[in-house]
């Protein structure tokens, strides 16, 4: 973990993992981005996150086996039928992952593996199969474009608010996968259910 002084206000920001690529300064609210190994302050990039959530950035908790979890950052997405939050978390074993809630169930997934999808995804329809190079053949359950409508805290990505992302969700052999697509390239990650209720949250 590294520490950083905000390049805008000089405030000390502690506990930054090597995966983090953007931070909201807790003192001056500047959006700090890691660019060419340097942290730079930007303004006017942050979109409001007006809807409250069960979690909040900075929240922490412990499981009965002693593992400590921290919520470091959050992205809020919106698509045609709704919105969802993805929370960037880490634990005391040094693992970092995304946590997302979908209609009451929480899923965790690690940073995705880069794969190529020859021909793109324009012909992929919901209910069809999508064979991935060197990966599983997905039964496509959802395909949508989502806008990032808000972000806060420390994140392993530099996505700006109002960025549009294309997603495909699918299943293979009883496992759930998510594809984040850009052209012929995609980031593939596997989703696992995550029992947030087994964690005793500090501020819950």
């Amino acid at each position: 973990m590294a520490n950083l002084n905000c390049p805008n206000c000089g405030g000390a920001i502690e506990g930054i993992s090597p995966l983090i690529r953007s931070i909201d300064c807790p003192y001056c609210s500047s959006w700090l981005r890691l660019s060419n190994q340097l942290w730079q302050a930007n303004e006017g990039q942050k979109a409001p996150l007006d809807a409250p959530a069960f979690f909040h950035v900075g929240m922490g908790g412990n499981t009965p086996d002693g593992t400590h979890y921290r919520i470091l950052g959050r992205l809020r997405f919106q698509y045609g039928m709704g919105s969802w939050d993805e929370w960037w978390m880490d634990d005391s074993h040094g693992q970092s992952f995304w946590l997302e809630e979908d209609d009451g169930t929480y899923y965790r997934h690690s940073l995705g593996k880069e794969i190529k999808i020859p021909g793109g995804i324009s012909n992929v329809s919901i209910g069809s199969s999508l064979t991935l190079n060197g990966g599983p053949t997905l039964f496509v359950t959802e395909k949508y474009q989502a806008d990032i409508v808000g972000r806060e805290g420390m994140l392993p990505v530099e996505l700006e608010a109002e960025t549009t992302v294309t997603y495909i969700d699918g299943v293979a052999n009883g496992e759930e996968y998510s594809l984040e697509i850009e052209g012929e390239y995609a980031s593939l990650s596997q989703s696992e259910t995550f029992d947030v209720r087994s964690i005793k949250w500090d501020n819950a």
């Binding site: 045609g80 919105s83 919901i126 209910g127 299943v171």
Partner: protein, 401 residues
């Protein structure tokens, strides 16, 4: 149970009703007062209504397995279910409808309870484990149109949204269709049927549960009493004793108006006896009338019982018919212990040349009539209580066939 704190209150732009938002991820709210959707300033042409339900009401609460849940929305769907009919070799379509109640707990986790006319089930979201089973005859295929949505939802339900479902063994593959009828989203659910008694308990309806338990016990008692009556009948039959079996006597025209002695029997105490006479009727139509006479040891008659045996036949619009009575089993109560004499006095014999009959006298005879009357009464009582119980369940839970 203390009501949850809303995270926000939005005033309806049409009627000003304070719409309370409980789910942080809610994207759509439909005013429960006027049906106007959040963001709209005019109500829809047809006001959506949450169904009338004795248990589930918007913002009502219940407790299940220690977790308090609050009802935040309801969607109603109507359509049909197709089921493969292997006898007719075709898909059979049945009109059906259901409601989905959206519920939320204190941790702001969402769950759904599905209600149709057969009952309630808890819908758990599951990983999709199969492709779309198109044409698979082992599935029930549902075609649904949303007819109403009231409350708050974490997606934006399109008006009259279309859903197709494939259901087998409580597992459902649900496909939301877009406005062009193409697949928009595929989800899987596992439905667990909710026990109605447990559901009533969840809503704190203990007095209703007690009343239903009482009526259940009464129904069981009524049906158990039928079994007891039948068993009692057979047990009492074991106490029956044949006092005398008469020899077979043949009666002809010369026997008329003459006393035919049939034998003697002894009674140790007063009691009911049955005089059972069985005739071997001659062919064709005819009749025989006589008197059975029971006399005491002083030769004084204590009972004179008519015996009438006959056969008639004819023809009507339904064709030929025949009716006969070849058995008589009158019962009398003998007043005291004594040695009694049984005799027969034939009166008339019409059309037949002869008739032969034999009989027996039985004491401690068991009557079947009270058993039948008691059994029918118990059955009617049991069925009536059962029907009333079902009606009560339906009234208290809103479901039940």
């Amino acid at each position: 149970m203390k009501a949850f704190e809303p995270i926000k209150v939005h005033n309806c732009k049409n009627c000003g009703f304070p719409m309370r938002q409980f789910n942080p991820n809610t994207l759509m709210m439909v005013c429960e007062s006027c049906g106007t959707r959040f963001g709209d300033s005019a109500p829809p042409r047809y006001k959506p209504e949450a169904p009338l339900n004795p248990l589930f009401k918007l913002h009502g609460q219940f407790e299940k397995n220690g977790t308090v849940w609050q009802i935040i929305g309801c969607q109603s769907y109507a359509g049909s279910v197709e089921e493969w009919d292997s006898e007719d070799n075709t898909w059979e379509r049945t009109p059906w409808s259901y409601h989905t109640w959206w519920i939320i707990n204190e941790a702001r986790e969402i769950a759904w309870i599905s209600q149709d006319k057969t009952g309630y089930s808890w819908s758990h979201k599951k990983t999709v484990s199969s492709e779309i089973p198109r044409g698979d005859k082992s599935y029930e295929v549902g075609h649904w149109t949303m007819i109403s949505a009231v409350g708050e939802f974490s997606y934006i339900p399109r008006e009259a949204e279309q859903v197709r479902s494939y259901e087998k063994d409580g597992r459902t593959l649900s496909i939301l269709l877009d406005e062009n009828g193409k697949n928009q989203e595929i989800e899987a659910f596992h439905d667990v049927t909710l026990n109605l008694t447990e559901l009533l308990e969840s809503f704190g309806k203990q007095s209703v549960i007690d009343a239903l338990e009482r009526s259940k016990a009464l129904t069981r008692t009524a049906f158990a009493s039928i079994i007891c009556l039948v068993l009692g009948y057979f047990i009492l039959q074991g106490f029956e004793k044949t006092l005398i079996t008469t020899p077979t006597v043949t009666i002809n025209a010369q026997s008329l108006k003459k006393v035919i002695p049939l034998g003697e029997f002894t009674m140790q105490k007063q009691g009911l006896i049955e005089l059972d006479f069985l005739a071997n009727l001659a062919n064709g139509t005819g009749s025989f009338d006589a008197e059975i006479v029971v006399s005491d040891s002083d030769k004084a008659p204590v009972a004179e019982l008519p015996l009438s045996l006959w056969r008639e036949s004819g023809r009507d619009s339904d064709g030929a018919w025949t009716e006969s009575q070849y058995r008589n089993a009158p019962r009398i109560n003998l007043p005291a212990a004594d040695v009694y004499t049984l005799s027969l006095v034939p009166d008339t014999l019409k059309r037949w040349q002869t008739i032969s009959l034999r009989g027996k006298v039985t004491r401690n005879v068991v009557s079947l009539m009270p058993i039948i009357v008691g059994g029918v009464f118990a059955a009617v009582l049991g069925i009536a209580i059962s029907i009333m119980r079902r009606k009560r369940i339906r009234r208290e839970t809103g479901v039940g066939l």
